[in-house]
């Protein structure tokens, strides 16, 4: 029974990370109709930035802020130069462009920082907390806590703020938005930067508990794609639920089925679900 809860808690902690990255993917798809392969690279770069800032002896919370801010800036640059010129052209072009960006960032990271994994050691992050016989690393609790806070904040942002409402409008009908004077390119930039920021936040949060290496983002982003597809492209709540489902399934499958095929379970779950529900479990929603 303890084992069961241990696996569940691990699944939830990883699910939080998957969900953060996947939500970024899904809103970018909902609003720009772009599948962003570079989303995982923001996660990876943010972990490196956290690492670099931490090396300068600055406190970890500040490192998180700097990492997220850097990712937002990079996100804005990528959107401006590699996505915006392609909006309204053939649907494959933006995907290929983000794929190219992903390759540049990933291999660029290898060139700059070598493929060797780096680690940050923060004492408090690695503190073991015992709750009813289940051992939880402090940082994992923080991850879950911040993820939940973030999703509530995001919900508020999209539902209540002017920008959030404009985002919802753009995801439903771009043409109508142009007519009533919503600045669609500006909303697209904000969305892309938001996605990059979410991913970056995930990367900064895992930096103290995971090895930091250049290919940490690509495998993660593929699993997050699985969550996005299962949740129905552009459906935020569906994506979050799917991300948690995938992470929990993965956590149990690794323990009870096979460690070797660790990275395959998420895809198998996705494919099985798509066989029965081609539009995902939660169906396609109009708008975000």
């Amino acid at each position: 029974m303890e084992m069961f809860f241990q696996l569940l808690v691990n699944g939830i902690a990883f699910g939080s990370i998957y969900a953060m990255v996947a939500v970024g993917l899904t809103i970018v798809f909902g609003i720009l109709e772009v599948v962003n392969f570079a989303q995982g690279e923001f996660y990876m770069l943010a972990a490196y930035v956290t690492f670099l800032v931490y090396l300068t002896q600055l406190p970890y919370p500040l490192a998180i802020v700097i990492a997220v801010a850097t990712m937002i800036v990079i996100g804005l640059i990528v959107e401006r130069f590699a996505i915006r010129p392609l909006i309204g052209r053939a649907w494959q072009l933006p995907i290929l462009s983000t794929l190219g960006i992903s390759i540049i960032m990933q291999n660029g990271a290898i060139v700059i920082w070598t493929p060797n994994p780096r680690t940050i050691i923060i004492d408090i992050a690695n503190l073991n907390i015992h709750i009813f016989g289940v051992v939880i690393v402090f940082q994992k609790l923080m991850i879950v806590f911040f993820a939940l806070a973030l999703f509530i904040g995001l919900h508020y942002f999209i539902q209540k703020t002017k920008t959030g409402k404009a985002m919802r409008a753009v995801s439903q009908n771009k043409e109508a938005c142009r007519i009533i004077g919503i600045d669609v390119p500006r909303i697209s930039s904000i969305t892309f930067a938001l996605g990059a920021g979410l991913s970056g936040f995930g990367g900064a949060l895992v930096a103290p508990v995971m090895a930091i290496h250049p290919v940490m983002g690509i495998l993660l982003v593929l699993k997050c794609f699985a969550a996005v597809i299962m949740g129905g492209f552009g459906n935020i709540k569906g994506t979050i639920c799917s991300a948690f489902i995938l992470a929990i399934v993965e956590s149990f499958a690794v323990a009870y089925v096979s460690l070797q095929y660790k990275d395959v379970f998420a895809f198998l779950v996705m494919i099985i679900i798509l066989l029965f529900r081609p539009a995902g479990i939660f169906g396609k929603k109009v708008g975000i």
């Binding site: 798809f29 599948v35 590699a82 010129p85 392609l86 052209r89 053939a90 649907w91 494959q92 072009l93 995907i95 290929l96 462009s97 794929l99 190219g100 960006i101 992903s102 390759i103 540049i104 990933q106 291999n107 660029g108 290898i110 060139v111 690509i218 593929l222 794609f225 699985a226 597809i229 492209f233 070797q260 095929y261 990275d263 395959v264 895809f267 198998l268 996705m270 494919i271 798509l274 066989l275 081609p278």
Partner: protein, 320 residues
């Protein structure tokens, strides 16, 4: 016009047949043979990306299926190479039908991701099914092909020249098949689906069926390319399904000009030679590749082949 065309074909034919006689460097010969492999690989990919208009990220998996199939057939079951080679293609084709049946019903974006997931699953299987594939170590010592030709006896493919002629034959078969397919009713139907699916269906074209056909034919030729590669470098391993190959294929097809045969051939040859002469680390090379891909997409999405077609079309219009 007809005669000049014939002369061009004869000249090109003599040139291609003569390559082993005037290329003295065995290193260059090796790259030329690899160009042939990538021409087949890229052209087969272009059937899916260019003519079908679907972004498949599962093509390297079919290359791997072909390679492993023929290697295992030849090494474990003593099947002759002439039989193992087509079976490699056919098995890749069957796998494509199995994958395509659910995947080709999905939206374009889901299709891209599901095919990528398929590549990763196949890769995990090849790495972990050690008893069959020898895992990440790969299978060394793959025998060089022996081809039994009636009345001539067994031909052993051993030297670079032998391999060159074998790949030349395969490249010609691939080019002719794809050329005929594109200019047949099948090609017309494929084009119609890419341009306007609703209208194509209204005219009686079964879009799903044609997608399956194109996806499977693409996989068949990828399987042939995989089989040839394994028997040429006498090794088969899971690294043939690296993500790197998807990037490279995309560059060859997109920069070369998706949906054009000549463009893709140019792209494949160029991007087999360029990395060999760029004496830099693979990572730095990949950074450049990514950059080339993004720049091509932004500034020349129709590719070299598309540009050539445009020039020819303009000239034809001008001269009436």
């Amino acid at each position: 016009m007809r005669i000049s065309r014939l002369l061009v074909i004869i000249a090109v034919g003599i040139f291609l047949l003569g390559i082993p006689y005037f290329v003295t460097s065995s290193y260059v010969m090796h790259i030329i043979i690899f160009s042939g492999i990538y021409i087949i690989f890229a052209l087969s990919y272009d059937i899916v990306v260019g003519y079908l208009g679907m972004l498949s990220l599962g093509h390297p998996a079919f290359y791997g299926v072909g390679g492993y199939t023929s290697v295992l057939l030849v090494m474990k079951l003593d099947v002759p190479y002439v039989i193992a080679l087509p079976i490699a293609g056919i098995l890749a084709l069957i796998v494509a039908l199995i994958v395509g049946f659910p995947a080709l019903r999905l939206s374009y974006h889901s299709f891209a991701i599901v095919t990528l997931a398929f590549t990763l699953i196949m890769r995990a299987v090849w790495i972990n099914w050690v008893s069959l594939t020898n895992g990440p170590m790969g299978i060394p010592g793959v025998p060089r092909p022996t081809i039994d030709i009636p009345f001539l006896g067994a031909v052993h493919i051993e030297t670079l020249t032998d391999y060159y002629y074998l790949i030349l034959i395969l490249v010609i078969i691939t080019c002719l098949f794809i050329y005929f397919m594109i200019h047949s009713r099948v090609g017309r139907a494929l084009l119609s689906i890419r341009e306007n699916e609703v209208l194509a269906e209204t005219l009686g074209v079964n879009a799903f069926k044609y997608r399956m056909i194109a996806f499977a034919i693409g996989a068949f030729f990828a399987g042939l390319a995989g089989s040839f590669t394994a028997h040429y470098i006498t090794f088969m391993g899971p690294e043939f399904t690296d993500f790197y190959y998807i990037t490279m294929l995309l560059i060859m097809v997109i920069l070369g000009g998706s949906g054009t045969i000549h463009g893709v051939i140019i792209g494949a040859i160029a991007f087999t030679f360029i990395p060999e002469y760029l004496r830099i680390t693979p990572e730095f090379r990949d950074v450049i590749y990514g950059f080339v891909l993004v720049m091509t997409i932004i500034f020349m999405p129709e590719g070299i082949g598309g540009k050539i077609n445009e020039i020819i079309y303009k000239r034809r219009v001008r001269t009436g």
